[in-house]
Structure formats: C-alpha cells, structure tokens
C-alpha cells in the first residue's frame, strides 16, 4: 500500500482540502444564486470578482469572536462537537470515486459504508442540542432525531434500487455500469425519492425544521458562536457537497461524459449542478411542519420507494434473466 | 339634521331605564352618548346588547377629572347591524375607584379594563384577571395616567 499516495488522497484530493474548497465554493454559490432569486446581488465587493473572498472574510471574522459556553452546559461536548461534526460529515468522502484512480477507499460494500456514515449526522445534532443546556437547542435536537424517522427508509430503498441495477454495492462498480446509460433514466422515481429524502437528511429547506429560525431561534445551533458556529456551518455544507457527489455517482453517471472534457471535470460539473438545484429549491419553498414531513415520508415516499424497488427488481430480472443481485 | 335611528335608540333607553339615566343624547351621526350611575352599567349594556345588537366593546377609556375628583369611565360599544357607536359613561369617585366590570357580558372589554386598572388604579368588580399588562412586572411607582403623576423632566 503506497502510504504517500494515501496521504495525498486523504489530505488533498479528494480528501479534506478538496472538500473544504468545494464547500467554500458552494457557500459562495448559494449566497450569489439565492440572492438572485431574491432580487438581490449577494456578495460583491470583497475579492475583485463577484465577492469570492466574502466567505473567507466571514470565516476570519468568526475566528475573532468570543467563544461563549453557556452556564451548566456540558463543556467537553460543547467544545468538541463542532470538530467532530466536520469529521463525521466528511466520512462518506472516503468511498466516493472521482475517477478510475482518484478514490481513497475501494471496497465491495462502499455504498453501505456511505449510507452508514451519512446516517451519523442526526446523532451529532441531538448531542449538540442536549449539551447546550437551552430549551430552544433541546427542542431543535429532538426535532433532528424525529426527522431521522422520516427520511432514513426512503433513502435506503432508493439506494437499494440503484444497487439492483448495477448488481453491486461497490460505488466504483455502480459508476462503471452507467457507462452506457445513466441510472436516472432507468429509475427516475428513485432519483427523485433520493433527492427529496436527501433534502430532509441535510436539514435544508423545505425540511430545515430542526433549525426553524422563526420558532426556535436557531435550533440545536442556538448557543454556538464564533468558530464553533463556523465549523457547524462548514459541516452542513460539506454534507451538502457530499450528497451532490453521491447523487452524481449513483444516478448521473459519475465521471462519464463526452470526450472533449476530462472525466474529472464532468464529475465536478454534474455535482455542481445538483448543488445548484438544491440551492434553488431553498429559494422557492417554505418550511413544512414536522408532522407534515413525517406524513409525506410515511404515506407517500415509502410506498413509492417500495414500488420503485419492486419495479426495478422485476424489470432487472426480466431483462437479464437472472434473479436479483448477482455477486 | 335629524338623526332618526339614533333618536329611536335614545327614546327606548330612556323609556326602559327611566330615572337611572342621567343624560342621553345624540352627539352626531351614528354617535350617541348615555350617562348613568355605575350600578346601572351592566343592565344598560345588557339591554343594548340584546335589543340593539351592540356586540363589541371597542374601547374603554378612563378620564381623570381633576376638579370633580372623579374618574369618568367611558365604554364605547359598536353595533354591526345598526351601525351605531354608543358611549356609555359613568363616574366613580377618585378616592374609592370601584366600578362594575362588563367583562362577563363582553369578553372584548377584558383587556381594556385591565389597562384602565393598571394605569389609573380603578378596580373592576367581577373581572376575571386584573393582572399586569403594559407596565413592567416589578412596577410600583403608582398609577401613571393619573393627572397628578408627574412625568420625569
């Protein structure tokens, strides 16, 4: 095992440095794109071109702010959770293939690993809400846990349909089997279900219930100031980037595209467009209520996902003549 | 100008509460004013509500009459069907400022009476909850809207 190779991949590309840069880009993109939807302009002056350095300026400002730990908060959790959040948010990156060569960790079960790593996030929200010793945070943390009940199953079921189509749980294999036709055309319903459930998972509009500013100030993040808040913010956007990379790998054919651009660029372009879509959804829809979200998930998304899974499995069996998954 | 609808209401009130009404007159279009003793307020208001559909108390004002050493309490009632606003006025002495609350009849008078109690110090008998409304919880500086309360220079 080439340790230097691994180090470069983990630290630089496609590891921490890259995902931080990508999150930086998506934060800037959200501020500009959302501003245009709202008839504003967004950052303009900091950084010569279109305010690109605004995010950096805000980050430096956050570094200079006082870290306030509330009375009787759990100090250890309070201080360590933001860093843990960034780490946990970046975990799925280990298995996502950017190219035939650029992948940190190959395994036959990388899709399962990615699903498990992504599901860790609500635990961080719940712990944060508990550790802050604040009623608003507590309610926000509980809401994050309730939201988990809604979106987990549809995510899993739509991932299962992708696994059936590619006969493998290996992300590399899943991308490779889309070389002729992207899975979004084979299972469009699975794509839509995965996208909607991912919005709930990311706690983004219209499902940003744990962070409902109008009801519980800032939800589980209420007591966090300064760089702790900055790290949570970064973790949030890292998760968004990871989801956009996942959606591209699972449904949009990964790095496959016409030859006039290198495959890596195609991968980044496609995930960038998914990030744009997620950002634009935030500008157009209000928040749903928790019970309405759970109703949508249980009465609508889960049956649809089960139907999608069944149709995919039957179609795969009929076309290939083989039952279900072939290992 | 003759205000027939208003004059009719005045006539019926005077006929029904003959002797209790101190003064009842038409002020202008859609405005009549009735003054009575404080023990008659509830009966007159009840009659207005049931006979003329005066359903809403839109305002309860307390006026500090310095010379007479009295508080005037004015209830304004609105009748949606007759489109008439009646000012129902009574006077209570300043030293023992107790009035009869109209809240059991009109829930819309609830907060207005609460405010009058807080700012003038008038007790309303029969009011369900005369708690703090506008002033801070730890206020003990007297009754601000009385004329003898001096604002800070």
């Amino acid at each position: 095992m080439d340790y230097f190779d691994l180090l470069v991949k983990v630290a630089v590309f496609p590891g921490m440095a890259f995902i931080t840069m990508y999150a930086y880009f998506v934060i800037w993109l959200e501020r500009k794109l959302l501003a245009r939807v709202m008839l504003r302009i967004g950052p303009l002056h900091v950084g010569r071109v279109a305010g690109v350095l605004q995010v950096m300026a805000d980050f430096i400002k956050l570094l200079g702010k006082e870290l306030i730990i509330p009375y009787r908060a759990d100090r250890f959790l309070f201080i360590s959770l933001p860093v843990v959040a960034v780490g946990v948010a970046s975990l799925p990156l280990a298995a996502i293939p950017f190219d035939e060569y650029w992948v940190i960790f190959r395994s036959e079960f990388s899709l399962l690993y990615v699903f498990a790593a992504v599901s860790l996030a609500p635990i961080i929200s719940l712990l944060t809400g508990w550790a802050s010793n604040n009623k608003y945070s507590f309610i926000g943390g509980l809401r994050a846990a309730y939201q988990l009940l809604g979106y987990e199953v549809p995510v899993f079921l739509s991932l299962a349909s992708v696994a059936i189509l590619s006969s493998s749980l290996d992300l590399m294999q899943i991308v490779r089997s889309q070389s002729n036709l992207w899975f979004v055309f084979l299972t469009p319903m699975g794509f839509i279900i995965f996208l909607i459930s991912s919005l709930a998972e990311l706690e983004r509009s219209p499902f940003d219930i744990p962070e409902a500013e109008q009801e519980i100030v800032a939800g589980w993040m209420t007591e966090y100031t300064g760089i702790s808040f900055g790290l949570f913010y970064l973790a949030n956007y890292i998760r968004l980037c990871i989801v956009s990379l996942l959606v591209t790998s699972l449904f949009l054919g990964g790095w496959f595209g016409p030859a006039f651009l290198p495959p890596m660029i195609w991968f980044l372009l496609k995930s960038g467009s998914i990030a744009c879509l997620i950002i634009l959804i935030r500008g157009a829809y209000p928040r749903v209520r928790m019970d309405q979200l759970l109703r949508i998930c249980w009465r609508f998304l889960i049956p649809l996902a089960i139907a999608n899974l069944a149709i995919t499995a039957i179609a795969a069996a009929l076309i290939t003549g083989k039952p279900f998954m072939v290992w | 100008m003759s205000f027939e609808a208003e004059a009719m209401i005045i006539k019926e009130i005077e006929a029904r509460f003959h002797g209790a009404v101190i003064e009842a007159k038409v002020q202008r279009k859609r405005r009549i004013a009735i003054e009575a003793g404080k023990e008659w307020m509830r009966d007159i208001a009840k009659y207005l509500k049931e006979r003329f559909d005066f359903a809403i108390v839109v305002s309860v004002s307390a006026i500090d009459l310095v010379q007479e050493r009295q508080f005037a309490i004015v209830y304004h009632l609105w009748s949606p069907s007759h489109r008439n606003l009646t000012a129902l006025r009574t006077k209570v002495p300043k030293d023992s400022a107790r009035a009869i609350s109209l809240t059991p009849l009109f829930e819309s008078a609830n907060w207005h009476e609460r405010e009058a109690h807080e700012l003038y110090g008038i007790e309303f008998d029969g009011h369900p909850d005369l708690g703090r409304l506008l002033l801070p919880e730890d206020w003990n500086g007297g009754f601000p809207f009385r004329k003898d309360f001096k604002l800070a220079e």
């Binding site: 009801e215 500008g283 209520r289 | 907060w111």
Partner: protein, 359 residues
Amino acid sequence: MSTIRLNWGPQHPITGHLRFILDIDGDIVVRATPDIGYTHRGIEKLAENRNYVQIIPLVERICNVDSFNVSLGYVSAVEDILGIEPPIRARFIRVIMAELNRIMSHLYWLAIFGVAAGLFTLIMWPIADRELFIDLAEMVTGSRVTYTYFTPGGVYTDLPEEFSERTLKTLDYFEKRLKDYETIFLHNKLYQMRTVDVGILSFNDALKFGVAGPSLRGSGAKIDVRQDEPYAAYDAVEFEVPVEASGDSYARAKIRFSEMKQSVSIVRQALKQLPSGPIRVKMPSVVLEGEAYTRVESGRGELGCYLVSNGRTQPERLKLSTPSFRNVSALAYMLRGVKVADVPIIYHSMDIWPLDADR
C-alpha cells in the same frame, strides 16, 4: 406530564417587540400568555401635554408603517369637535394616501408572513416593491414613513404635478407583481399546507373577543369602517370588502391580498375623479370643547380615536383603541392546543404590530 416553559420573544428573530410565554407539552402549546408592554411609550399621557397640532406626529408613531391611516383618525376627531369638514379635494387626497398606505402596510405584512414559514424570498420581494410606494409618499410629503401630512381642515400641501402619472405607472407594475405573489404564495401547495385549517377563529369567537380588521373579516363578519360609516371620500369610490368564511390563516392571508387589489382600484378611481379646489379650510378661531370618537380602517383593522377636550389648548384625554391591542387578546385563546410550528404562522396571520398594541 410536565410542560416546558418557552419564552417566545422578545429577543427573537420573528416576534417583534412582544413576548409569548408558551407552555409546551411535547409539540403542543398548552397555554400561551401574551406579554405586551415592551414598547409602551405612554403616548396617551404625552398627548395631554401637547397642543392639538403637536399631537399629530405623536399619534403617527403608534404605527409607523401605516401612519396615514392613524393620523387620519386623530385629525378627523379634531374636525368633528370643531364641526368643520375638509374640502372635497382634500378628502380625495386623503383617500388616495390612505389606500397607498394600506398597500404599503400589507406588503410589509406579506414580507413578515412569508418568512414566518421560512421562505426568505418572500421577505425580499415585498420589501423591494414597497419601496416604490414609499417613493410616491416621499414625493408628496417628504418622508418615507410617519408623514405628518394630514392636518385638521385638510392636508398640508398639494399633490405634485407628476404624482398622478407616476402613481398609475406604479400601480400597473404592482398589479403584475401581485400575480407573481399569488403564484409563489397563495397557490403554493406548501404554503397551503402550512396555513389552511391552522388557527381557526370562528365567527362567534371573533366577535366575542373584539378582533378587528382582516382577521375579523376572515371569520365571516363583514365589518369594515370604510363601508359601515364612510369617511373622507370613501362614499364616492366603489370597492368591495373581501370576506372569507373559513376563519383560518389562509383566509386571512387571502383577504389581505384581495384588499391590496381593491386598494389599487380605489386609488385609480380617486385619481380619475380628483377634483380641483382648495386643500385646507381656514381653521375657526374657537377653542375645542367637546368630545368625539372617530373610527378609521387602518391596515391592521379598525382604529378608534376618542378625543375629549375641555376648552384648553391641550386635550383632556386622548384614547386610541388600536387593532393590534384587540387582536393580541384573542391570541391567548387561539394559540391553545396548536403545534409549536404553527405559532409564528397564526401570530403573523393576525398582523400584530407591537407598537400599535402598546402605544
């Protein structure tokens, strides 16, 4: 089952300057106690130390986003006591400015109500469109809010030359924008999910608690001061008063939308019919003695101004019965048994302006 006591406000992104003490059991609000008074300035007491013209800017500050309507109430009370009536042109100008102010007030409401459900786009668009109407008011009066334009006897200055044309252009643009707002707001399925059947106020309860304005008309009661006792020039223009029967937050939102459309139509009619003539009558040199109660329909509902004068230069008593004060008392009852996420929706559908409630 023990309940959590949550302070909703006053340091809060969305409540404005008041507080609700919510007792929450799980996700249900068991009790909601409104706590107003954070911005109580004692305007009624201050008015007893000022003469009648000095009170006009004082009274405007009880609702600075809607100050044409508020000052109209006070100025009409002074006129009633004096027994004078403003000239016909002044009355039409009053109608025009009051209706433009109603549009401004409803746009501000739309901004806050849009964000109450978490959509920030709906705070940016109405505030931007409101700027156009503020420009119109600035053209006439010189200020953006709190105009001090109405005076007993008429209005201070006449409308400038280009006002009529610019207003009509703004109204044409605004009518198109209203269609955009309807698409993104009224016909948005997610908004309907959040507001339909939320915060139902029945007809009897609305009358019982003395609720005023669009909140009252949303429960089926057709009470609007402009038609019950027309003031200014409202009897010379034709307009409808929208009424909805369902009594939920969606009905109240729909009514405010319809009111904006009706205001556009009223301003158009008034501009067309605007007669020429003087804009003020000469004030009689008598002292004020008597009392008057005027009602006007401000953006939030019926505002009552009770003025008692006793022959001196300062009034004996000025009492303002504001719509927000009446609506907040109903909220203690409406917020019982609802989910926590519905609290901002219901609260903002009643369009409470805390400065209005506190005076």
